[in-house]
Structures are given as structure tokens and as C-alpha cells.
Point group: C2
Chain length 250, copies 2
């Protein structure tokens, strides 16, 4: 019987315990841990990574008692780590949300705007349709999807206009709000009924003068009209999978 945890060593001298090698039994877990720790020390590991699936959650408390700390979760598992010395380098986890907003202007110089149902204590105001990126979704695809979901307007991506970076957003993490210029392909609005109280085409000049529009949103429209946006481009010779990468250049 192998009394050490099986696993692999990553490029940061991190030992990743093989999830298939996690026993059901707490006693076996303890016995393997006792053997392995001195081995990790001997081999100068920086960090030990331990993934506990929900089905073996009874091991969590024991792992914590051996100095493991929380790192992140996936839906059905908890990822823990043990620093082998106090200043060991730990790969950080994701730190940001990405949101998108669409500037959609039709051939009559009217802007597609929405008003959300009152929810957050702030007064009603007209904003750009948009939302949050889904897992591994491109910015281009997200803004087209969100504009369509909220307003029923189909669009073509034109350019990235500008963005806003904000800290201490949800759960203390940061947020980037990316604004994209889109060209509409249809005109008739089909409003999403759960979150959107109102969706309409509003004359651009009226929007820029409106009392219920935030100063930032007005600045975004002025920046859109000014031009000089970032375009989505492929880079010749850059070995990218189109589903994995998107590149925005001036």
C-alpha cells in the first residue's frame, strides 16, 4: 500500500494531490498526510494543493487541522492549500467581474436605452442595455447577447469604446465595465419583463441633456461620438484559438 499521497508537481513547486487518491476514511487520510508532509518538506515544495469533492467533505476539518487554508471553490468541490513556509508564493484566484454595456445608435440618431425596475436605492435612470459575462464568454458575444435579451434588438459588434474599473464591488472583488459600439439590425423593441421597466429609442441629444442620466453615461456617449475606439482584430502568426482569445487594438 502506498502511504504517501500521489500527485504532480506544478511549475511553481506546488504539489497537487491527486483527487483520485483521496480516501473515504479519515484515518487513512491522516496516515497519508503524516507520511507526506515530511516528504514535501524534504523535496522543498512551496505549496501543497488539495481538492476535496463534496462527496468527501468529512475530510475538510482534518485538512484544516493540518494547516490547510481555503483557496477557492468550484460548484461541487473545495480547493485548499498548505503553505510549506510562511512566505511561499501562492497562485492567486480570480479577482474581477466583467460587465458589458452596448451603445446602439440607429440611423435616426436615436440611442437604445433601458430603465431597470427600482431595486437598489438609487433613483430611476436611463442606462445602456448590458450585463455580466457568462463563464468563458467573449466580450463581443456577451454584449450582443445582453442587448438582445433586454431589448430584442439584434446587433453587430463595431468597436470597444471605453471602460470603467471599480473596486470593492460584489464580495469585495473588483469590476470592469466595458462599453461597446453596436450597429442595430432591427428596430422593434421586445422588452425583457423581469428586470427592465422600460426600453426605448431616445434621441442622442435628448439623452445627453436628460436629468435622469448619470454623468458617466453622458461621457460614454460623447466618447463614442468622438471615435478613436479599439477594434477587434486577429493577429497574423499568433497561434490563437478564436474561441479562447479575443484581441482589441487601436
Amino acid at each position: 500500500m502506498n502511504t504517501y499521497f500521489k500527485g504532480t508537481v506544478n511549475i511553481y513547486k506546488g504539489f497537487e494531490i491527486d483527487i483520485e487518491d483521496l480516501p473515504e476514511s479519515n484515518d487513512v487520510f491522516v496516515s497519508k498526510m503524516e507520511c507526506s508532509i515530511s516528504d514535501w518538506e524534504k523535496n522543498c515544495m512551496e505549496v501543497v494543493w488539495l481538492t476535496i469533492p463534496e462527496s468527501k467533505n468529512q475530510l475538510i476539518c482534518t485538512a484544516l487541522s493540518y494547516g490547510f487554508q481555503f483557496h477557492h471553490t468550484e460548484e461541487d468541490r473545495l480547493i485548499l492549500l498548505k503553505k510549506m513556509h510562511p512566505d511561499a508564493f501562492v497562485i492567486p484566484y480570480a479577482s474581477h467581474y466583467i460587465g458589458v454595456g452596448g451603445v446602439v445608435i440607429d440611423d435616426q440618431n436615436r440611442l437604445l436605452v433601458v430603465r431597470e425596475f427600482y431595486r437598489n436605492g438609487s433613483s430611476a435612470h436611463y442606462k445602456l442595455p448590458g450585463g455580466t459575462l457568462e463563464e468563458n464568454e467573449h466580450i463581443e458575444d456577451a454584449v450582443i447577447r445582453e442587448v438582445f435579451e433586454e431589448t430584442g434588438i439584434k446587433t453587430v459588434f463595431q468597436s470597444l469604446v471605453c471602460f470603467r474599473h471599480r473596486h470593492h464591488f460584489r464580495f469585495g472583488k473588483s469590476d470592469i465595465y466595458m462599453i461597446c459600439l453596436l450597429k442595430p439590425l432591427n428596430h422593434e423593441i421586445v422588452r425583457e419583463k423581469e428586470e427592465i421597466a422600460e426600453a426605448l429609442w431616445m434621441d442622442v441629444d435628448e439623452y445627453l441633456a436628460h436629468d435622469h442620466v448619470h454623468a458617466l453615461n453622458k461621457e460614454i456617449i460623447l466618447a463614442t461620438l468622438k471615435g478613436n475606439h479599439l477594434l477587434k482584430k486577429d493577429v497574423e502568426g499568433y497561434p490563437v484559438d478564436q474561441a479562447e482569445y479575443e484581441i482589441f487594438l487601436p
Copy 2:
């Protein structure tokens, strides 16, 4: 004795159990949970949020047995949630890493470049100095910090040149690499010794023709020289805390 969990209701009809109201005892936890669940159902809660500090980790298994799921972790605590119906809306967690790279060109048309120690299986190549944002750090501050740490060159922020969006990066999350134009304030390089094998000023034309430079990096330099970048700006009338927000506009 209060037999229900104390807590607050957020704007998404999510009940957040008061962390101060978590008992040490598993029996008390079970008894409060039994009482509270029917109460949450009666009050049409969408989701129940439960934060378990590491010091009370013995409650994790019990919480999971009541249908709680992993959501995310902080250093010393695990955040769980229970959907009150299968299609309940759950606030997502952070999805992205943000990295920065600095284009630093001196008055002799030379670019500041670094070569990292061999680590990742790819061949050696000259890249831009840079790194990952720290918690709640501005992009502007991060790129200045990283360039200084890796090369000893102090800089002033000029503009945001372009960015690259990439999926399935660390732990399956996505990554945005933001490229910034910086003006150098000194010339003498002090190389960081742990990760940087070489740091030097290289003629821009030599860099653009170099065999050991990625096509994307060459495109980034061409885009920098082309102009049309996004500038960092304050928006008049936008009630921002400068430490909390940064805005990039054309």
C-alpha cells in the same frame, strides 16, 4: 431563545445569515436550521447565504447535508448558499484575472524588455515587463509597480494601448491582459533576480524584427506607435472616489 437564524435580506431576496448568530454546537445549528427553512420558504426567499468561519468548520458537513453548496472562499471563511428552488438567481463570483504589461520607450527609441527564466515549456522570448493586479489595485498603479519591480525603471502613465481577453486560464477562469504606454523617468536597469533572467533596452525596430518575440507583442508595439489610445480621465459630476474608480476614455 431565538430558534431562527438572525440575518438580513438583500435586494435579490437572498437571506444572509448573521455570522455572529452561528452557534458552536452542531445540535443548536441543526435545530435553528430546521426552524428557519420553513420560514425562508414562507417568505419566498430565493437563496440563503451562509458564511462559516474556519473556527466553526465543524458546521460545514451539516450545512452541506441541508443542501447548501459551495459559492466562494475568503482566507479564513467558506461562503455557502442554498437555492430555495432549482432556478433561483445566484449572484455569480469573480470570473477574471487582470494582468498588465508596460510599453516603456525611451528618448532613443528603445523599448524596455525582459526575458523570464525558463519555466513553462515555451522557448525563451522577449516580452514586456508586467504582472498581475493586486487586490483592489488600479491598472495604472499596477503597471507602474510591476515595471519598477522587474526592471528598476520608474515611469509615468500615458495611456491604455490595447488588451487581450483569454479563456480557460488559471483554475478555468478567464484573463484580460491590459497594455499601457508609460514614459520612463530613469534609465539604469536594476533587474529583479528571482523571475527575470534578463532586462534590457532594445531598439524598437530590432524588437519588431526579432525571432524571439511573439507576433502579438509585435502587434502591440505597432498599435502603440499608431496612437488612438484610451486616456485615463476624471468625469465631472460623476461622484467617484478616486481610490475606488478609474475611467479610460478615447
